[in-house]
């Protein structure tokens, strides 16, 4: 399993690996929002948490089809399916690699970019914590979507349509937690719900992903 993780990280960092894709998209959206909304610092401050969460979610979505499509095309998945590793473990490692290359950079970049959106000072800790709790769920659910659409050439549209509804609860509780902490309110409840969603999908989704991948490999 470690070998698979190391290989995925190495591939993501080498040329053509698409490591910076999600991060660059996140950067672009967050930089452009103040231009489109206009010079209204208090309005920006109010929508900052929601915009950051939405941008992070879309940035995550952008890189999902890379999780499995390349390995499917070059036959790696066939061999991994016959390897001693269970497919559930393979897909968990893939989701972890996706989170490390997409989710973690977003979590790190979010407080820096929040300055551009005039996020109230009280909100930074809540923003980082909510993203750190929520992005693993995005990667794990996204891996399920990728497994579902793996046989389809250019299945990006279908993947987005399938995955977006599954992302909604994460978005609601994540943005709510970030918003409440920015307003100086108690964010414990949405934060716990968010952690619960992440823990739940981490535990259950790999089984669903492996089941649909087995069907797609036939």
């Amino acid at each position: 399993m470690r070998a698979l993780l190391v290989r995925d990280l190495r591939l993501a960092l080498r040329a053509g690996g698409g490591f910076g894709l999600g991060l660059a998209f996140f950067l672009i959206v967050v930089v452009l929002v103040p231009f489109s909304v206009g010079p209204q610092p208090e309005l920006l401050g109010r929508i900052a948490a929601g915009v950051l969460w939405l941008a992070a979610l879309l940035a995550c979505l952008l890189s999902l089809d890379r999780i499995l499509a390349l390995d499917f095309e070059d036959g790696t998945l066939d061999v991994l399916a016959t390897a001693p590793l269970p497919l559930e473990a393979v897909l968990s490692v893939k989701a972890l690699a996706h989170w490390l290359t997409t989710g973690v950079p977003l979590v790190v970049a979010a407080p820096v970019l929040a300055v551009l959106l005039n996020l109230p000072a009280a909100g930074y800790a809540g923003l980082v914590l909510s993203l750190a709790l929520g992005t693993p769920a995005l990667s794990v659910i996204g891996t399920f979507g990728a497994a579902l659409t793996v046989g389809i050439k250019r299945g990006g549209l279908l993947l987005s349509l399938l995955v977006l509804p599954l992302y909604v609860p994460t978005l609601i509780f994540g943005a709510e937690a970030a918003r409440r902490s920015a307003q100086g309110l108690d964010a414990t409840t949405p934060m716990l719900m968010l952690a619960g969603i992440s823990a739940g999908v981490l535990a259950l989704m790999p089984f669903a992903s492996a089941a649909v991948l087995r069907v797609n490999l036939r």
């Binding site: 070998a3 095309e73 036959g75 066939d78 061999v79 490999l217 036939r218």
Partner: protein
């Protein structure tokens, strides 16, 4: 332990292609599958490798003993030859990468990126992967595509060495490998598609 197929029927895309295939393969022996394009060799091999379920019948003695090499080599263009092999060795829990590279004359290419190799060199790397899996049964689908005569000889040598250690090999190929292997033509097992219904009902939707 033998690999045994008993009355195996396989389907592709919901349509049965081969029916009633029975054979057994003892340690130290190889079997060459022949048949025209589209006759179901790949489907049969994928079923034996456990990548798809059989329509009916059973495969015994294959669980966790199969090294499968299909049409695609499972290589990453941005990893070097050595990194590709080391990855597969670690996945299968072995470490003998050097021996595999020597067997397929890949040592001079060890640090090259797989993406810069020629088609034949990639194929050799894909076959070297079989050695690092440490698995007993090699299931090979057209292993000699884009190999030159020397590389085919290297491959035949590797298969012979594998058989000598008590391994088994199931090879679908159109060329003569010069192996002392039984030959099975799959043509008699083909299912005439007219008048034959679909497999199980949900297969038609997959």
């Amino acid at each position: 332990m033998e690999l045994t197929l008993s009355d195996l029927s396989v389907a592709r895309g919901g349509l049965p292609v081969l029916a009633g295939v029975s054979l057994s393969l003892a340690p130290g022996h190889a079997l060459v599958l022949r048949g025209p394009n589209g006759s179901g060799k790949t489907t049969l091999l994928r079923t034996i490798a456990g990548l798809q379920p059989a329509l009916s019948g059973q495969v015994t003695g294959a669980e966790d003993r199969i090294a499968y090499a299909g049409h695609a080599d499972g290589l990453k263009a941005m990893l070097s030859v050595r990194e590709n092999l080391t990855f597969w060795a670690e996945v299968f829990g072995t470490r003998d990468v050097e021996r595999a590279m020597q067997a397929f004359a890949l040592v001079p290419l060890a640090e090259r990126l797989a993406g810069t190799l020629s088609a034949g060199q990639k194929r050799r790397l894909g076959l070297a992967r079989l050695l690092v899996t440490g698995r007993t049964i090699w299931v090979l689908d057209e292993p000699t595509v884009s190999l030159d005569a020397d590389a085919v000889a290297l491959f035949a040598g590797a298969v012979r060495a594998h058989l000598a250690q008590g391994g088994m090999a199931l090879i679908a190929t159109h060329i003569d490998l010069g192996l002392e292997a039984a030959v099975l033509d799959v043509t008699p097992f083909r299912v005439a598609l007219d008048g034959v219904g679909f497999g199980s009902s949900d297969e038609a939707f997959l």
